[in-house]
């Protein structure tokens, strides 16, 4: 197993102590609630072998929860904007969204030309996604909830041991501009969740709780002061390149960032 001599180290943190995140957007105080018809699926709790961690620390326990069956669409986000104009691109507070926030939108209430009402909304910040979730009485899923739901292929809850499943995901990730397509055009996974892979990256509540600093070969000591102290752990599934990519993507983000292929879906406690 010589090729595996190179170990990838990560910081595991159990809390989300990050200044930019604990300063919740003031906008949320004035949120107008909206009614969402989005279908949710119940995910039965359980445990899985985490991507991060070693031996006993790798067992991740997840409580039962609900999660949206698909990413939030442009049309759904537009409903939110109509009731909450403080989140339109002309009015959004700079602190909560960078300059590319909804930048492809024709105007405050017109979705991008290349996209469809039923395409996933992208170029939204973590703050905006969080505000949306709250406006429909939900929240963002945690990394662990998202990863747990995403273990499923079409026929089983946990397809992580199937090499062809990883290959499928890797291939799906290479799709360019898949975010302009409409949701639910592909088959759902075992739980009935659509578009978990290859359409958009998705925000999670604690997207930066696992630190990938960019110096992926030595993530044991970097930026420790920015995050809560935690056990450093080793990933052993070096072949799980798909998971690597998700954690790398999350690690490259800040809460005000908006990206062309980054959207979200919501979750809810039972």
């Amino acid at each position: 197993m010589k090729p595996f001599a190179l170990t990838f180290l990560f910081i595991l943190t159990s809390c989300y102590q990050n200044k930019s995140l604990s300063d919740a957007p003031k906008e949320t105080e004035n949120l107008e609630f909206i009614v969402s018809k989005k279908e949710m699926k119940k995910i039965e709790g359980g445990s899985y072998l985490g991507f991060i961690g070693k031996d006993s620390t790798r067992i991740v326990e997840v409580k039962s929860f609900y999660i949206d069956d698909s990413p939030i669409t442009n049309a759904e986000f537009l409903d939110f904007l109509r009731e909450n104009p403080q989140w339109t691109k002309s009015k959004v507070t700079q602190l909560y969204a960078d300059e590319s926030y909804l930048h492809n939108w024709v105007s405050d209430y017109e979705i991008p030309k290349e996209a469809k009402p039923n395409s996933p909304v992208t170029n939204v910040s973590w703050f905006a996604a969080k505000a949306y979730a709250e406006s429909v009485g939900k929240r963002l899923p945690t990394v662990e909830e998202w990863e747990f739901s995403a273990l499923a292929d079409e026929v089983s809850k946990d397809a992580s041991e199937k090499p062809e499943f990883t290959a499928y995901i890797l291939n799906a990730y290479q799709n360019k501009k898949a975010y302009n397509a409409e949701i639910k055009q592909e088959k759902p996974n075992f739980y009935g969740l659509y578009n978990m892979y290859g359409m958009v990256w998705e925000w999670t509540e604690d997207f930066n709780s696992v630190m990938i600093s960019g110096e992926s070969r030595n993530d044991s000591s970097t930026n420790e002061n920015l995050f809560c102290a935690g056990a450093s752990a080793t990933t052993t599934d070096l072949k799980n390149y798909a998971a690597f990519m998700r954690y790398a993507m999350r690690g490259s983000l800040k809460a005000n960032y908006t990206v062309n292929n980054l959207g979200f879906r919501c979750a809810k406690d039972l």
Binding site: P3, F8, Y173
Partner: protein, 354 residues
């Protein structure tokens, strides 16, 4: 006149600024060797580096003073060809494999601006082996799609260095073409030559076998097994062949900056029909002479020089020779000019009695 005054001036300057160094040297070389490159002053000007696409390189530094250099690199993920009709989803610095050639001198302050194109799917970064600092800049340059990261480093060591993406999963980023070379010239520059070229070897792992047409996916199992389908110079079987052959004239001196991005294989770099007059061993400042084949590790580089003595086609190969003829590690330098029978001639067949 200029060339005479300059070393004198520098020698005086160095003596002045280094009172601890009592030697009264009449040679700028000695002054240079005692000077900490960290303390080399900038001349106050700033240059945005112009970088032509491979196999070409930016203009030599010559005898210019150290200054601030701005290097703009953009990460572009795009479908290109490994071979005729064989498509691959490359991840690139500036849209080419290898990425743009960066050229500076010892003492330069280099501001590296790394932009990740907004249509990129993945986050990326850059680790330059010429950087003295954490991760070679990898952490400071980790950048999400659509964003830009900037960091600055002072070039302290002369040599030819590899740069590459180091974002997780590193092997895949490199296997998809994310590497290039950065040359840090010593003060006064490398000796002038007639032709300079930029060649970088890389190994590629595809679902289909060598030559299988269509868009080929990256094959992680082959990558881990270190069994590439393609071993290429400059990312395509034809990068240095046909209309793209490197050119030189008889009598010219040729310098090739050769790098190896890997991710896995070591190159046994050889030019068929030539002997390297000089090789900067491992891309450092030690020069070996009269070299037939030079070994270039993954993540390493070498500078090879030769004089074109005789006209003809000279073939660049990885002399692990099955890679050349079955995996694509082939290129050519066409040398034009008059025959040079003193050095080489083909004799008439010997008359033999029947």
């Amino acid at each position: 006149m200029k060339s005479l005054f300059r070393p004198l001036f520098l020698a005086v300057l160095f003596t002045l600024s280094f009172t601890a160094c009592k030697q009264n040297s009449d040679s700028s070389l000695l002054a240079d060797s005692t000077m900490n490159p960290e303390d080399i002053a900038l001349d106050g000007t700033t240059e945005v580096l112009e970088m032509p696409a491979p196999p070409f390189v930016p203009t030599p530094v010559g005898d210019r003073a150290a200054k601030k250099i701005i290097v703009n690199l953009e990460i572009i993920e795009k479908v290109g060809e490994l071979a005729n009709g064989v498509e691959y989803n490359f991840w690139t610095f500036n849209g080419t494999v290898p990425g743009a050639f960066i050229r500076a001198r010892v003492g330069d302050e280099i501001e590296l601006r790394l932009k990740n194109h907004e249509d990129s799917v993945f986050p990326h970064n850059i680790d330059l082996h010429s950087v003295n600092g954490p991760g070679g800049g990898a952490e400071a340059s980790f950048v999400a799609p659509g964003k830009e990261a900037v960091f600055t480093f002072k070039a302290l060591h002369a040599g030819l260095f590899v740069y590459h993406c180091a974002a997780a999963p590193v092997g895949m980023h490199i296997a998809n073409g994310m590497y290039g070379l950065i040359l840090i010239e010593p003060e006064g520059g490398l000796p002038a030559v007639d032709k300079e070229y930029y060649v970088m070897q890389g190994d590629f792992y595809t679902k289909g076998a060598f030559g299988e047409k269509g868009l080929q996916e990256f094959d992680i199992d082959k990558a881990i097994a270190e069994q590439p389908d393609y071993v290429l110079f400059n990312g395509n079987t034809g990068s240095l062949l046909g209309a793209n052959e490197l050119q030189a004239k008889v009598g010219e001196t040729v310098r090739i900056f050769v790098g190896n991005g890997g991710p896995n294989l070591t190159s046994s770099f050889h030019v068929i029909g030539e002997i390297f007059d000089r090789v900067y061993v491992d891309g450092g400042m030690t020069i070996n002479t009269n070299v037939q084949t030079t070994s270039i590790p993954a993540g390493g580089a070498s500078i090879v020089e030769f004089k074109a003595d005789v006209p003809g086609d000279y073939v660049l190969v990885d002399h692990a020779i099955f890679r050349a003829f079955h995996k694509g590690a082939l290129g050519k330098i066409k040398v034009n000019g008059d025959e040079n029978p003193k050095v080489f001639k083909k004799n008439e067949p010997l008359q033999t009695k029947s």
